[in-house]
Amino acid sequence: MHVALHYLGVYGVGALKDIALTIVSTILSIILGVLAAAGRLYGPKALQIAIAWYVEIIRGLPAILQLFIIYFGFDQIGIHFSPLMAALIWLVAYGVGYAVEIFRAGLMDVAQGQREASAALGLSPSTTMRKIVFPQALVAMLPPLTSFVVLQLKNTTLLYLVGFADVMYEARLGVDATNQAGPLYVMAAVVYLIISLVIGRIGMRMERRAAAYR
């Protein structure tokens, strides 16, 4: 048996960690992203500006610098995060920056006439958001959200740099130990590709269901 195949087990465990981290960080990013998008669109001016700047910073700074600042930078001032904690904080902080813009664009995409029709029927602003605006915005948001989840998955490959033991981390260790860079990296690529494809399929299904009325 090829030496690389001995790594299937640890790859599997690493893949589960990556998947779990992607799911948890996506859910948190979406929740915080919806709130931040609402603040960006309808909040007080100061909040709008603060969120706009946050988005600029997250999108402008190299991802790896953000991660290093959270893990190594905070360590310097006495705040120590475990690799898992640092990974989660970074993925969510980064994810919110992207999610805000996806939600903002989606919400703005829903025509003004829809809000007016809803208001004219006596529906409250929160019901209008829940029943009228959000379901329609979702159709516009799902394709970029799917790409966003894949982006978060790919971001997890940077986490080996802070010692988070996922697929990428195991691949690096394996290459150091066995000198089988080719097979080990290709195997890691296949793992990430499979997960990405599954995310894409799920996204496509949700899009089709959400857009059934179109």
Partner: protein
């Protein structure tokens, strides 16, 4: 038509920023009265009826409706008052504005269930009765995209009626429709008028206005140019502005001639 005034506008003025939309508009609407508002486009007709159900705030004057008294300016209307007005005043839009992600019957059931907390079964039953009334019961599970414009507008009327409004506002309900579909929508509106609904109707259909409206209001140049009993205003308008507008719309060939004459004149001037 009775003597109870349900809408009373006094010297209402509305601006968008520095642009004046209308000024000093005063108008009383009685219970079961049908008021048609006509006039050239850009006169502020849509904005005026949107101010009545407070989709837009207005700047000066007062508006009394359904026992509420609203004044112009920045002061916020309490949420409960706004909600009461929206619940009791129905609106039908030029562009239908049906909710595209809901089926026909869901469009109609939504507000009674969400706002009035009506049980689903009852909301469904009432929605079906409304759909029967406009001749569309077989379309109940279809999404709005699959309906013709005339069908969409009839569903939009049902959606507004499901809240059992005391006043209905129509903003050019037929102007987006192909000519052969106009009749079915006007039919539904006429039926409402006969049943005693109080209505404000912005329209370009002069013949229809004459037939169903008790009162006609001509809006032009940011104000009410003339108002009075429908036949009087439409057949023998007194003000020059009203005569000018009506001669345009009632005699299209004349308007076309005017248009050509004006163009030739202006082109001649350019040269």
């Amino acid at each position: 038509m009775s003597n109870d005034v349900v809408v009373s506008a006094r010297n209402m003025t509305k601006r968008f920023g520095n642009t004046l939309v209308f000024k000093d508009v005063s108008l009383d609407v009685h219970k079961s009265e049908v008021v048609a508002i006509v006039g050239p486009s850009g006169a502020g007709k849509s904005t005026f009826i949107r101010c009545i159900n407070r989709l837009h705030p207005f700047d000066e004057g007062t508006l009394e409706l359904l026992g509420h008294r609203l004044t112009g300016g920045k002061a916020k209307v309490p949420r409960a008052v706004l909600q009461d007005i929206h619940t009791r005043v129905g609106m039908v839009f030029q562009t239908f504005n049906l909710f595209p992600h809901l089926t026909v019957i869901e469009n109609i059931m939504l507000a009674p269930m969400e706002v009035k907390k009506m049980p689903r079964a009852e909301a469904r039953e009432r929605a079906m009765a409304l759909l029967e009334m406009v001749g569309l019961p077989h379309k109940r599970d279809i999404y709005p995209k699959r309906l013709s414009g005339g069908e969409q507008q009839r569903v939009a009327i049902c959606r507004a009626l499901a809240m059992e409004p005391e006043i209905m506002l129509f903003d050019e309900p037929t102007s987006m429709l192909d000519p052969e579909l106009v009749g079915e929508v006007l039919g539904a509106i006429q039926r409402l008028a006969r049943e005693g609904m109080t209505m404000l109707l912005v329209t370009h259909e002069m013949a229809f206005a004459k037939e169903v409206a008790d009162t006609v209001v001509i809006m032009a140049d940011h104000e009410i140019a003339e108002m009075g009993p429908a036949c009087e205003v439409l057949e023998s308008p007194k003000t020059e502005r009203a005569q000018q507008f009506l001669s345009r719309v009632l005699k299209p060939e004349q308007a076309a001639d005017d248009f050509v004459a004006a163009r030739t004149a202006s082109q001649g001037g350019d040269r």
